[in-house]
Each structure stands twice: as structure tokens, then as C-alpha cells.
Subunit: 205 residues, 2 copies
Amino acid sequence: MTEIKIPKTVLERLPVYLHYLRSLPKDERTNVSSAKIARALGLGEVQVRKDLALVCGKGRPKTGYSYEELKKHLEFRLGCSNNTVAVIVGAGRLGRALLSYEHFSEYGLDIPAAFDLSATKKEELSNGKAVFPMDELESFAKENDVKIGIICVPEKAAQQVADEFIKCGVKAIWNFAPGRISVPEGIRIKNENMAASLAVLSAGL
Amino acid sequence: MTEIKIPKTVLERLPVYLHYLRSLPKDERTNVSSAKIARALGLGEVQVRKDLALVCGKGRPKTGYSYEELKKHLEFRLGCSNNTVAVIVGAGRLGRALLSYEHFSEYGLDIPAAFDLSATKKEELSNGKAVFPMDELESFAKENDVKIGIICVPEKAAQQVADEFIKCGVKAIWNFAPGRISVPEGIRIKNENMAASLAVLSAGL
């Protein structure tokens, strides 16, 4: 597979392309052109062509890409066959909603557990997942090679949870607490402030 | 207040600035400079200066902006005193988590209700909110001047819910279902694919 570095803005569109390919009816899974994808997704054709060229090289004139090949390259870039393990700290409503959310596995992501300060013993959920007491985080993370930590605690506890995650060896943090968190160089962080997202959508309505 | 149009990428940073200002201790709420904000948030000073100039004009040399004035302009741009009403369709775990999420009000957003196909009568929640049967959406939306519709149903039902929202007069849709939704010209849409976000964060870890 090609190893060209993909800019973040392009990377963010790859799940959209992959989702589109996966949603195509069986009889359309032969060849697929940038033009067709652009039309279906309401994107510019030039942008789609450039994005896909980074992922899968140039398509063939007229026919475009082989469906299977393009899908395989997108899945590779998004790590869909990696089985990356993530865990959640904070088993309130949002933490539990993410724990039950079904679509992560489509991208090779596994969220088997959440941890909560108020949990005193392991609570098994009906979907095979579990909520553990906070003091089991470190051993769980090491045994299960946890790569991503998801923060679903209130803002005032978020930095402490981030520090804990980093001690456990996570490489990336997905933060749902409002406000800024400091992490050491080399640790990825994505802040997901739901209220701010909705505020931006509604600004000037 | 100034009415310069603010680009979307800048708009997306405004909640970060506002959150920072609101989190400052009382004794620092006099003047605040771009340099100080940039340092605290780990952003480039030039970027912060340009962003804030769009919102609040130029700061004064040395002292920067008046805390109150900058906060007021940011709140104005983000519509924090507008009381914009949003409702959710789909009262599963994610829908209920959003319904209970406390931070929306900080941005003038009110999510009083969710609607669900499986609800047969109004269910009052402890926080003063409620889940209603789906067939009450239209009258509720009209009575409460609902501006934003939030889609928390499975993908196959998402387009139908979007169409319903538009019939009810919403101006913007926040879509948590995977996949693409078509909306008429002039209706804002923001797709929030949680699995795709996490996939992008984890790509290449």
C-alpha cells in the first residue's frame, strides 16, 4: 500500500468515501469514478480526485477505480483492520452512550470498557461490555494494549484523567469535557465540545 | 456590534476563546491580550489576533481587549443570549445523553424535548425535559419556534427525519446518523459521525 502522508483535512473526508462505497448496492461494486463519488456526496470532483489519488493513486481513465481496491486502500488508511482498543473514563450518560454505540467496529475500533470513580465493582452490560472501578484502569489498559483514552468526565476532572491515561500508555485522547487539556508532545488530542459544535451551527440563524 | 462576516474556520474557534474567558479567575477579568490567550490555548498569536479583530476590532496596544467587551462580542457572535430552541428525534442512548447534557445553555441553546417513534405518550424526565411521541413533533416545533433539529436515529431513518424537520420549519440539522442526508438549499447541516471521528484520530497510531 502507498505510504504518502495524508493531510488531516483529507483524512477527515476518508470515512465519508468509505461509508459511501460500503453503502453501494452489490451490483454497483465493480468500478467507481471520482465523478460518481463527487456527485453522490455533493463534493467537488477535483477535490475527490485529489483526495483519492493520495490514497489509491490515479484511477483509470473512464472507468475510475476498482471498487475493491479503493475500498481496501481506504480501510488500510483508516486502520479498519487494526482492532485499535479504546476505553472511556466517565460512565455517565454520554460515556455509556459511546460505550453502546455500534458503529465503531466498522472502523476497526473496539471500546470494551468504561471506568468510573463511583463504580465499586465490575458491572457487566448486556452487550458484553463492562463498567469498572477507576482503580482497574491501569492494569486493564496494559493487558489490553489500550491505544486511545476517551474522556467523558466533567471539566474539573478532565486533566487528571488525561494524566492517568498517559501514565497507562495511551497514544491519543478523545476529550468530551469542555476546556483545554495539556498533553505531552507526541500524544494526539481531539477535543469534542458538543455545546460549542451546536453553537457554531446555530450562530446567526 | 460589528457585522463583518466571519469565516467558518474562525467561527469554530470562537467557543474556545469564550470558554477561556469564562474560566479566568475573577481577578484577571480586566484586560486580556491576544498574546495571553494564544499562550493559554496553545494557539499562534497571529491567528488569535486576526480572529479577535474580526469579532471585536483591534485590541489596544499593550493592554489588549477589555475583558467584558471581548466576552460580550464573542457571546453576541455565538448567539449566547438568543435562546435558540433545538429538539432531538431518536431517544436512544445518544439522544438521551444529548438531552441531559448540561452545557448547551452556556451558548444560549435550549433542548427541551426529544421525540421517538416508540414513545406512545409523553415521558417527563427528572431534569424538566420530556420525550414525546413522534406525531407531536410538528405542533411542538411550531409552538416553540424550534430552529434546529438533531437526528439521533439509525441511518436508514435519517433522511425521513430530516424531511420531517424541514416540514416543521427548522433552519439547521445536526445529524448523528452515519451517511449523507439531502437538504434543500439554505438549510444548514452538520454531520457528526462519531465512529468516523474516532477513526481519524486513531489512523496510523
